[in-house]
Symmetry: C2
Subunit: 327 residues, 2 copies
């Protein structure tokens, strides 16, 4: 783990807070060498992804640092799951604002430790820099691809079903709640939404299990409709969803300021959006059950291009400047 | 390549500037999926390292962006070389200050393209974020380990020779020159030093070739003496170097304001510091020649702890507040 800053105590930071996170990975060498060994992969393909969270963009200065660190890790685990891979190790590049003290870093490391135990991943390297500027956590996660993978965005065929895991819009609702909006939520709903925003649930069991069954997959980070657009465009198809079939949490459904048409445009859900041919409906159900992950069928792909959102009467909504609405 | 910022045109940035850099790696899928495939490694171990450069800490705001990008890549290639590995792919997390325009990003991508061709590596993923704050480039490089590796810091035995590649102190001299110091350099010397600071030469041929011959190895980023201290401590030994045997560039030797005792304490050299038993002197020579990399024998390891720096009379210097000096 290199450190080339002038900030005193950076070696201590690594030894105190980060080296313990690397203890379970022999090839990380306690973060004392210049690089880490991944180990031979025995014919299994490895998959790599990098995602960064920046203070003021992806999280707020008063978000708890343990949650911020876990989210930085989780968004990467979500990317690997969307490809059908299971994370095993990660590196962390950390820009620490000069005004943050050791307690902040300790909390961050505690969050990482909790999620390492939860998801079976290990820190194997990284870099820390003290700088004027916002906190930044860039995680590179490395995983093993399930046999028969990867899942890609471009594999959908015309007439495939469209599925989504979990519920949609909670990340966006949590961000609104953090900003003091969504005033019609009660305190339990508000806390639920904030928790979902701060700590997405990467679908690490579902993604790899979908290899061989799903025809295309990605994780929802830009918003359900936007990401379905990415999948459809990559596959050379159109897609349509029935807005009434999209699953909502109780909190999202309760917020009148946050209608369904806005939930499907909000981002930060980290649910898996995937397609599969109709003949595999029972298989998808069985996989979802085995993974312990709720999955809903919300639409289908068809020839053409673009995404249509249909209301309960089958009428297509149009995207206006403030979200989707009736024509 | 994920992008979760509100900055318009980020997808365009990736398509225009970064996807072309990923074209040679099929498993990068044009940066359009959530993650990239490394490919099966056929029994060869993979090695991973992450190093970040931050504006104002590791480079200056008016440093040319193509050089900054190449340095960000090169410091990672240097880490892999120090372990005896050869880089094959990398990811890039890029924080772009809001005030930087597309030309800045285009220049950055041009620099990466130049070094991709030079070093045979390919961009396979990453993230871009527009944020208030300094530019930050975090590179994670992945490589293949040479058979018999890795080279580590802790493998030196008492009585091993200590070697250094290239010349020492040029990075530090270049930084001084950039700050308007080192006034006694002529314009050619000044430019040489600035170039060395901005664009270190990772010893990518030497490092992997040293596997099986060197007993310990690291790259010099904190300064020759500090990094020799890391190697000695990891190996449970002391080390001593003869300051007259340390190789200097003409520019460094010409600067009277920058004596040898300061050059050995300056960082940012990215030369390989390694040890090997005396019976392998001919082998080291042959490896250096085959790699086309100058290598000098500058000292030895011995039992005990700490680093001693000896002058031409064999007298040990002591580290004072302003560098090494006679007692």
């Amino acid at each position: 783990m290199a450190d080339r800053t002038a900030r005193s105590g950076e070696f201590d930071l690594i030894a105190r807070f980060f080296a313990p996170l690397a203890a379970a990975w022999p090839g990380a060498y306690g973060l004392e060498d210049d690089a880490a060994l991944l180990g031979v992969s025995d014919g299994i393909d490895r998959v790599v992804t990098t995602d960064a969270l920046v203070e003021g963009v992806h999280f707020l200065p008063d978000d708890p640092p343990d949650r911020v660190a876990r989210k930085a890790l989780r968004v990467n685990l979500s990317d690997l799951a969307a490809m059908g891979a299971t994370a095993e190790a990660y590196t962390l590049a950390l820009q620490i604002p000069a005004e943050r003290d050791d307690d902040w870093i300790a909390a961050l490391a505690r969050g990482l430790a909790a999620d390492q135990a939860r998801f079976g991943v290990t820190l194997i390297g990284g870099d820390t820099v003290s700088a004027r500027g916002p906190a930044l956590l860039s995680v590179t996660a490395i995983g093993r691809l399930s046999h028969g993978g990867p899942l890609r965005r471009n594999g959908a065929a015309s007439g495939d079903d469209v599925y989504i895991s979990g519920t949609i819009g909670d990340g966006g609702l949590g961000l609104r709640a953090r900003r003091g909006e969504a005033a019609d939520l009660d305190s339990v709903q508000r806390q639920y939404a904030v928790d979902r925003y701060r700590l997405p649930e990467p679908r690490v069991a579902l993604g790899p299990a979908l290899v061989g069954t799903a025809s295309a997959c990605l994780d929802v980070s830009d918003g359900l409709v936007a990401d379905l657009g990415h999948l459809a465009r990559a596959s050379g198809l159109a897609a349509e969803i029935l807005i009434d079939n999209v699953p909502w949490s109780e909190a999202a459904a309760a917020s009148r300021d946050y209608p369904a048409t806005e939930r499907i445009a909000a981002g930060d859900d980290y649910e898996l959006l995937f397609t599969a041919p109709p003949v595999r409906r029972d298989t998808v159900k069985a996989i979802a059950q085995a993974a312990g992950t709720p999955v809903a069928r919300i639409g289908r792909t068809l020839s053409g291009s673009g995404v249509r959102v249909l209301d309960s009467g089958g009428v297509a909504l149009v995207l206006g400047t403030t979200g989707w609405r009736h024509r």
